[in-house]
Symmetry: C2
Subunit: 181 residues, 2 copies
DNA sequence: CCGATATACTTAGAATACTAAGTTACGGGA
DNA sequence: TCCCGTAACTTAGTATTCTAAGTATATCGG
């Protein structure tokens, strides 16, 4: 991380620009500098506050995530739902079991393709949107207190860019392991 | 969410500014607009990529979080460790059991205060910092690819502001429930 | 100096998520 | 037509994290 003795200042700067990191590894030893850590704390705090409100309607934070997607698109398959919500299928299976038991969803099969299961909201769950959706908006309001609209948009768009960057990398690794297989 | 027919445009704007939300509740029905959702995806993607590297040294993502803190401050108590890492104490208990079994830490008591347990890294875990810390820097590099240093700092500081806002609210609720109790 | 309160940690039990390895159903060649 | 690869979902087992409630130790007010 330090310039080799013989190298001229200019050369080192060039090399540094070309191949070294934005910050030395020690920098990230402080969690406050780590995007991963910050994202975890944002996610947990947000989630906990939201759940505090939704639990009054017997909806857990995990269930809320599935309901939100179904409010947008009712009657999609389990696989589609998993993708949209960003969870793996086994997670979805377990979550849907809970949602079905609680009377929020029903599952239906077609003869078209007997492998697929379509998920539908019950009337009760549909009605809940009116009550629960504003709770999310409220937490958002709290979370972004004191920020300008522009700052909020900047935050969202920077997070999306991070997500895209990480997804690209994950994609690369998936392709590599396909080649190996 | 729409102006009542009889209200003059100016009046509505004032009312809106005074008491309504930045966006209508429907806006957040799209997960891509939700800071909570975006933070979850950032956190999971980041964590998964990092774990892929650290697992080669038998360190899981969860364990890594504790090690990072101990690299900064060796010999602190369990409670202090929990706070710094941002986890509840039972989580720490379980994690430390794993870390102890894996030979990464030792626990020690004092006669000073026999309730406290101090956590120390083993020489092996100390050495791992040289290998593992750069992995975090590397994921950071990937995550922030194509961003200027300024953009990265903006992202970090906006996330910290969200965390502070949510913590304030949680604090408020805690005080309220203290009053009740 | 004793009892109430607070602190530090632990245990128990549950929710949420994951990976790996099934099962069942579809669909395109040989 | 039948076999093989793929797709959709399920099961099993594990890891991580939480809340609520418990134990042991320390401290402080009367």
């Amino acid at each position: 991380m330090y310039p080799p003795a013989k190298m001229a200042e200019g050369e080192w700067k060039l090399a540094k620009k070309a191949q070294s990191y934005r910050h030395p590894a020690e920098f990230y030893t402080n969690p406050e500098n780590s995007i991963g850590y910050l994202a975890r704390v944002v996610f947990r705090s947000f989630s906990r506050l939201l759940e505090r409100r939704t639990l009054a309607y017997d909806v857990s934070a995990g269930q809320w995530r599935f309901l939100r997607q179904l409010w947008r698109e009712d009657g999609i398959t389990q696989r589609e739902l998993s993708e949209r919500v960003g969870m793996r299928e086994p997670t979805t299976v377990v979550a849907l079991k809970g949602l079905e038991k609680a009377g929020f969803i029903t599952r239906r099969k077609t003869d078209d393709d007997r492998r697929k299961t379509f998920i539908f909201l019950t009337p009760h769950a549909k009605k809940l949107e009116l009550t629960l959706a504003p709770m999310n908006a409220e937490i958002h309001e709290i979370a972004t207190r004191g920020m300008t609209d522009e700052e909020v948009e900047t935050l969202q768009s920077l997070m999306r860019r991070v997500i895209d960057n990480l997804a690209d990398e994950t994609q690369k690794l998936a392709v590599l392991s396909d080649v190996k297989a």
